[in-house]
């Protein structure tokens, strides 16, 4: 005997406003409460710890330098690195260096997207293609793209083509794989929903499949960006030449060629800052928005 219909005589429904009130009460009781965290508390929780960690790191570095157990040319003073950093920033050279590298990374990443998206769609939706190149695509992800540099230099010489080839080789597999797993992980109920509300063919892709695959695709893009940035730096460090201009990698190589340790470390920091900066300024906000809208990352 189920209790829910017991007290009401069959065939005698509740009065309309009575049931409306009951329903409104249920809604009020059952609605999940959303806890909004104020921005300053979020900053305290996520912004402060890395700043403290960074300050500690500088402090330890300063201590090691002051104790002079390692020769100066191996570990320079934090201040010397700062000076070297201030010099490139001061004379404006940093802008052209950053522009050279970041524009390459962006153009490379954009080309990678253009190639990887159709490729990922093919692998995800066409069984033969998946069987043929799916394993290769996953395998290429674990191949360090530096391995392509010597071959690319032989093919294209010391030109931008070499750089772009290495960047593409590094990022395409990640982006394509991200899209494939994004599509694979679509809950089967969504395509069925699409079918029963009248979507077919392109409309299904546009309204159901692509939005449903978006979180996985974004994760792939994020990884693809990291890989393309890494590959770019590797290519710039190894392949230096007059046709290539001075990017961050060449800048680092220059410091190392002249035994200028502060410059080397300043370059490493710049590379790190750009990598983290792009992730924080571009990918993180997009990803956060996508996940929050879907209720997938309440705390993020």
């Amino acid at each position: 005997m189920q209790p829910e219909t017991a007290p009401r005589p069959a065939g005698a429904p509740l009065a309309d406003d009575e049931s409306a009130a009951e329903l409104a009460g249920l809604d009020a009781l059952d609605t999940p409460t959303v806890r909004r965290v104020p921005w300053w508390r979020r900053f305290l929780r996520t912004g402060v710890p890395p700043i403290v960690a960074f300050a500690l790191f500088i402090g330890v570095w300063q201590l090691i330098w002051a104790s002079a157990i390692v020769p100066e040319f191996k570990i320079p003073a934090p201040l010397a690195v700062w000076d070297s950093f201030a010099t490139v920033v001061g004379d404006g050279q940093v802008l052209s260096i950053l522009w050279t590298s970041i524009s390459r990374a962006f153009v490379g990443f954009a080309m990678a997207l253009v190639i990887a998206v159709p490729l990922g769609l093919l692998v995800a939706r066409v069984r033969v293609v998946r069987a043929a190149i799916g394993p290769l695509l996953s395998g290429l992800q674990s191949l360090p793209s530096v391995a392509w540099v010597p071959a690319a230099v032989l093919w294209f010489g010391l030109t931008d083509s070499t750089i772009y080839f290495v960047v593409l080789a590094g990022s395409i597999p990640s982006i394509a794989n991200g899209l494939v797993s994004g599509i694979d992980q679509i809950p089967p109920i969504f395509p069925r929903v699409g079918k029963v509300i009248g979507a077919s063919g392109l409309a299904t892709a546009r309204h159901i499949l692509l939005p449903a695959a978006l979180p996985g695709f974004l994760a792939g893009c994020k990884q693809g960006w990291a890989f393309s940035w890494r590959s770019l730096m590797a290519a710039e460090i190894i392949a230096a030449g007059p046709l290539l201009g001075i990017g961050l990698g060449a800048f680092l190589k220059e410091g190392s060629d002249f035994n200028d340790m502060p410059k080397v470390i300043a370059a490493i920091f710049l590379i790190l800052v750009v990598g983290i900066g792009i992730e924080l300024l571009i990918f993180r906000p997009i990803e956060r928005r996508v996940l929050r809208v879907r209720g997938l990352a309440a705390g993020v």
Binding site: P13, A20, T31, I189, R192, V196, I197, H207, P211
Partner: protein
């Protein structure tokens, strides 16, 4: 099996207008077999069923009676392997056990999507969606995301979306709504409230409803007609029109259902 056609021949055509009472859905000798040869599993066999426009029919049965298979056939998600199936001209709409709202859209946009797919203009579909949300008592919540709603509210958004798909752009013609145990995952209090809501919405819209459940009490409360299916393979073993004495009917159907289930004891 009387008539046998291949699945593709049983396309959706409007019911031949029998005088007075053209059916919204009609199944004649419908069967569905999955697989072939020795592995073949017959889910449905020789099912005859006719549902009149505006009628509320509950399909009742224990596990394995092919209730969901039957709904999938009527919805056009699957094709029968035997018999003829006549569906209404527009595609019937479907409500699942889970609300299955698209999490990247707001409640309002979820309801709008079927209207958008049928080519309705932006302002028209927005107005229609607001109307449907009001009908399920969710007015003003169009901008909420599915995860911000309770289970019962989500299932009502799902009902509004199904109605949008069933009744078409202008809301004319009741349409056919297929429901696959839509309240089974809800708690008892919410389920009770939503059953009441569904009856109210059904009366307000004149939609034809085919509702699958394994809960006799739910079937007797909601339906005008209860159809009992046997299991493995599923076929119709009993039909009751629901009158005033629902308690007696509940006991009668429960007794028959027990017999059907007991007959499966090997």
């Amino acid at each position: 099996m009387t008539t046998t056609t291949t699945g593709t021949e049983t396309t959706a055509t409007r019911t031949p207008a029998a005088p007075g009472q053209p059916e919204a859905v009609r199944l004649e000798g419908v069967g569905k077999t999955f697989g072939s040869g020795s592995d073949a599993v017959t889910a449905l066999q020789n099912v005859d069923l006719a549902v009149a426009p505006g009628e509320f029919v509950c399909l009742l049965g224990a596990s394995g009676c092919g209730k969901s298979t039957l709904l999938n056939l009527v919805a056009g998600l699957d094709e029968p392997t035997a018999g003829t199936l006549t569906r209404p001209a527009g595609s019937p709409s479907f409500m699942f056990q889970e609300a299955a709202l698209l999490p990247w859209l707001t409640a309002g946009r979820n309801v709008e999507l079927p209207l958008q797919l049928s080519g309705l203009s932006r302002s028209a579909r927005r107005a229609r969606a607001a109307e449907l949300l009001t009908l399920v008592r969710l007015d003003g919540l169009a901008d909420k995301r599915p995860h911000e709603l309770s289970g019962g509210m989500r299932q009502r958004v799902s009902l509004a979306r199904a109605l949008a798909a069933a009744t078409g752009p202008d809301g004319a013609g009741g349409g056919v709504l297929l429901m696959d145990e839509p309240f089974a995952a809800l708690d008892a209090i919410t389920r009770d409230a939503l059953q009441g809501e569904l009856l109210r919405v059904w009366r307000a819209t004149g939609t034809t409803i085919v509702f699958v459940t394994h809960d006799v009490r739910e079937a007797v409360r909601l339906a005008q007609r209860v159809v009992l299916l046997s299991s493995r393979p599923g076929t119709v073993v009993g039909e009751w029109a629901v009158g005033d004495d629902r308690d007696r009917l509940h006991d009668e159907i429960t007794g028959r259902l027990r017999q059907v289930i007991a007959s499966h004891a090997a």
